[in-house]
Structure formats: structure tokens, C-alpha cells
Subunit: 337 residues, 2 copies
Amino acid sequence: MTEDGKIIVALDAMGGDYAPAEQVKGAVEAVNICDDIVVRLYGDEQKLRSELSKYKYDESGIIIVPSFSVVENCDVPTNAIRQKKDSSMVLGMYALKNGEADAFVSCGNTGAILVGGQTIVGRMRGVDRAGLAFLVPTARTPVLIMDCGANIDCRPEMLVQFAKMGSIYMKYVLGVSDPKVGLVNIGEEETKGNHQVQETFPLLKECGDINFVGSVESRGMIDGEVDVAVCDGFVGNTILKTYEGVAANMLNVVKSALTSTLLSKAGALLIKNNFKKTMKQFSVEEYGGAPMLGLRNFVVKTHGNSKSPEIRNTVLQCRTAVREGLTEKIAESLSRQ
Amino acid sequence: MTEDGKIIVALDAMGGDYAPAEQVKGAVEAVNICDDIVVRLYGDEQKLRSELSKYKYDESGIIIVPSFSVVENCDVPTNAIRQKKDSSMVLGMYALKNGEADAFVSCGNTGAILVGGQTIVGRMRGVDRAGLAFLVPTARTPVLIMDCGANIDCRPEMLVQFAKMGSIYMKYVLGVSDPKVGLVNIGEEETKGNHQVQETFPLLKECGDINFVGSVESRGMIDGEVDVAVCDGFVGNTILKTYEGVAANMLNVVKSALTSTLLSKAGALLIKNNFKKTMKQFSVEEYGGAPMLGLRNFVVKTHGNSKSPEIRNTVLQCRTAVREGLTEKIAESLSRQ
């Protein structure tokens, strides 16, 4: 934090499909909404200055920190983190490690963020493996799926830690009181599931500090039956990508239904506004990015194709997480295990 | 088959949410379309007669076989198969085993169908485990996901058999030439994936008799990149239920967008027909039911909430499978391994 108590967010301004333009715009929007945030923009100094010149904002809210290379999506994560020491991603992560920032945000190479998170920022004491959590819309309130791809093969103890960390995240950052935690399974009975699930179920049942409601099928999860859905990264990533695929596919089909005949085009004009508003429900950008939970400090991965609203919301999400003492609360919970 | 070469389908007319009305209707529709099919309807004789009296059809195409109990959805599968010997499901499966039918169809208790398939109909020689395969719509042609829940923890050799069986099914029943087979994974690189995937990948690569195209992410699968997606039953079932959940959820949201204001209601009237036609793309009933592959004869599970079109299409699907010699082709392929 700054001396006057402002929260400092390190933003990798060069990672993502629309970097640095949308990153800069999102940062400006965030500091214009909350005057207790300072964003440190890591990136090409000249490009950042040129983007910043387009906006009005309190100049004390944004600091440019020059970087000299970029971690690309095609880079091998471990190599990128080791070799691109002067990149916007690596410099931003070191700022978090060294206390020059309270949170770190990037839309860049997911694998590199995961590697950098583990090796530069470092795991919290007592955490086996940090996990990537995604919030997805449901028929009710959004559900946090954890893990979504950071840990492929998971031991039951890791899933228990994901349950605890996800639960704390939902409680303090999303404001859900007593979040319902479900174990992703292919049936609701306790006897169902693969070896991993059957070994994890009794451990979750014993956890006093979470509200474990039992198994949840992915269908029930999408219906909004739980607030936190626990699974290994293979299953979580598969769910997430199925979700994105079906949603995108259906949206295309609906759009083509709306525009394929003269009559439907006329109808489309009439429903346009209402339709846009409703479909926003399926937009994940409202919730900010995917937090990597279990690190010593708060790291958030946002979509590669993020535009300014998602960047802005992610910066605001960092503010909430830091103000609520998320990392400390996770550390405290895991030290009790 | 009958003496004059007609294909006999045993239909459990008592299983499913709308049994026996929709089962009887679907059977009548099927025999009215193809005169080389005979449907043996297993169920309560009086109820079946009463339903049948509503329709016109060639009476030699439908045979009622009385049964005296029903396997309910709440029944424990193994108990149901063992104890309800006079049920429509068990009698129908014995007919298949004894050669009185060429295929068996049920909308009933999935677990019981799986157990009955393995214990009454029996596994094909050389098959480790029979699997349940589901066809789901994609942005292009439908993809067959196998396994979708019959086998939770799978050895790599089982996945290889699923790949071969699914490939033959798509080729001969759906008419896809040289079906592309993908291994469900969370990245496309050969080095990605959990232990199971990494052990299975090289085995699939070595298979000379399938068109293995490598790993496929669930997103790519929904985009229609492959014809057969291979995974264990835990992952497959999770994908399937995520798919159903997201599709149902979005459909509800779209519907409410269409009807929430006066203006959008007017627009909805204009697009109604076109919209209905387009949304049919997401209806799985077009493709019939989920085949259980690897048994000595052809068993198909259809949705519990199936109506007559799905029953009809499933009976027609059985006809194609039997005419094409699906079971023999699978047996031949697996004997070469």
C-alpha cells in the first residue's frame, strides 16, 4: 500500500489481445471510480504514455513502470519466466513479491502466470498447490470452479484446500455468506464417483470450517446449486471450456435465427436492446478475472481477449480482496488444518 | 430377425417419464415409416392395447409382450435386474440375449440398463468394458462422446477400445467416412493432460484402424473439430451435463428476453418460427438414443423424458445398426487388436 493507505495494483499492460490499449483504458476507469487505488502499469513506456494521453484521470493514481520485453502466448512458460526478466509480466510479479504492489493482474500467457505465481510470488505456507479459480454465471448467482487448470492430477488433500480457499474467496470478495461448497461428481449419492472423489468426500465432510453440501453434478452447478464447485484442474478446465463452447455456439445460432429472414430481421430490431441486456448475464467480465488462490499475494489472470470493463472490474476485485484481507484469511484458515 | 428378414426391436414400453404413451406412439411411427421393422413392445398388456388402439398401423409390425413389473428410476440397478425378472426391461433384454430381438431400447433407469446390458446381454469377447456413447450437437456435425458414464475410472486400454467402437459406430450408423477421433484433453500438445491421457495418447497414435487426430479440448469438441471424443465416464458425463445445463439455462434466458417487454413480445412473434427451427439444432432427439457399445447385441438408452420422435428415431437407428452389421464389425475390429 501507499503511505496514505491506497491499494497498489501491478498491471501487466502488455499481455492480452488488446494490449496495451484496453489495459490502460481499464486502469484509468478503475482509478476514476475509486480514488484509493494506484495502478502500476508495466509496459513499453512510450506506448503507455501515448495511450494514457487519451484520458483524463488523477495522475497520482497511475504510475508507469517501463518494461522491455513481452511474454508471448507461444512462449514456453518456464522459459519465459526464467529468461524474460525485463518483461511486463515478470517485473510486475517481482513488484508483488517485493511489496511494491498488493496485487498483480495479467491477461497474458496463462501457463506463465501460473509458473510465475508459484516461483516468483510463491506459495503460502501450508498450501500444497495454488489453484486457479473461475467464476461462471449460473441460473442463480455465479459459481466459483476450482481448480480450473493449474493442477491436473490432484490428491484429495489438495481438493480440500481448494474448497477452503474458494469458500473464503466467495465469502469476502463476493460477499456470499456461508458459501455452499459442492464436490463435482456424476451423481449426488455419496457412493458415486471416481477414486479421487470417493477419497475426497469424507475429508470434506469432516471440514468444520466450510459449508460442504455434498456432491454436485455439473448440471446442478450450472443451475446454481452451490457457490463453490471443487474438482481437479482437468475436470474444471473441461467444464469451463465446454461452458464457453456451448454458450458461444448457441449465441451464434440465436443470432443467425434473428437475421436469416426479413421477418426475423424486423423482429430482431424490436428485441435488440432487451436481448443485449439479458445476454449480459452470460458475460463473465462482470466478475473480473480468475484469481490464483494459495499464493503469498493476490494474483489474477484475466481473459486474453479482455477489454477495458473486465480489466477495470479486475482491478476493483483486487481492491476488495486486499481490503478484506483475503490472503491473510486464507493463511489463517489453512494454518488451522 | 423375422423369417422374412425384418428387424426386430425390443422396446421397454414402461420405462421413461411418458411411458407407455410416447413409447407406443414412437413405435407406431417407426413401423409406419419402415415396413421392415417389427417392434416388440414389453409392458402392461392392457395399457399397451389401449394406447395402440389410438393409431393406424400394419398389425404385423407390432407385437405386445406382456410384462408384470417396472424397473423404477429409484431402484438400485443390481437389485432391480436380479429381482424384477418379469419387468419390461429385464424381459426385453432376455429377448435380445435369446435371439428373439436384434436390438433393445429403453428410456428407463440408466444404471439398470448398464447392469442388465453387462449381465444379461453380455460383453462381446475381447471387450474390457462396454461403454455408453452420446451424440451431441456441435457447430458442425454431431460428435459422439464415449464414455458418458458407464465406466468411471478407466485404464488406457479401455479408452482405446472406446475409440475403435465409437469410430465404427460413426462410420456405419451415422455414415461419417473416416471419422476423426480426438482424445479429450485440456490442451492440444502431446505433453499436456493428466496421467490417464498421457498414457492413452501413444496407444491411440499406434492404432492403425482409426483416424486419430490427437488431443481435443472440450471447446474444440463443441466447435465440431472431431467426430468421436474419447474420455472416461467421469469426464464424459461431466461434459454432457455441463452441455445440457448451459443449453437449458441459455434457452431460458433467451425466452425471457423475448417476452419481458411489450416491444420484445412483438419482436418475438415475428421471429418465432425461425427461432424454433433454428433451436432444433440443439435438440438431441434427432439422433436417437445413446448406444451402449461393446455388448453382444445392440442396446440403446434414450432420455428419460423422451417423446415419440426420439423413440421413433431410436428404433430407426437400431434398424441402421443391425442392417450395417454394427456388432459384427466391432467384434471383427476388436479381434484384430
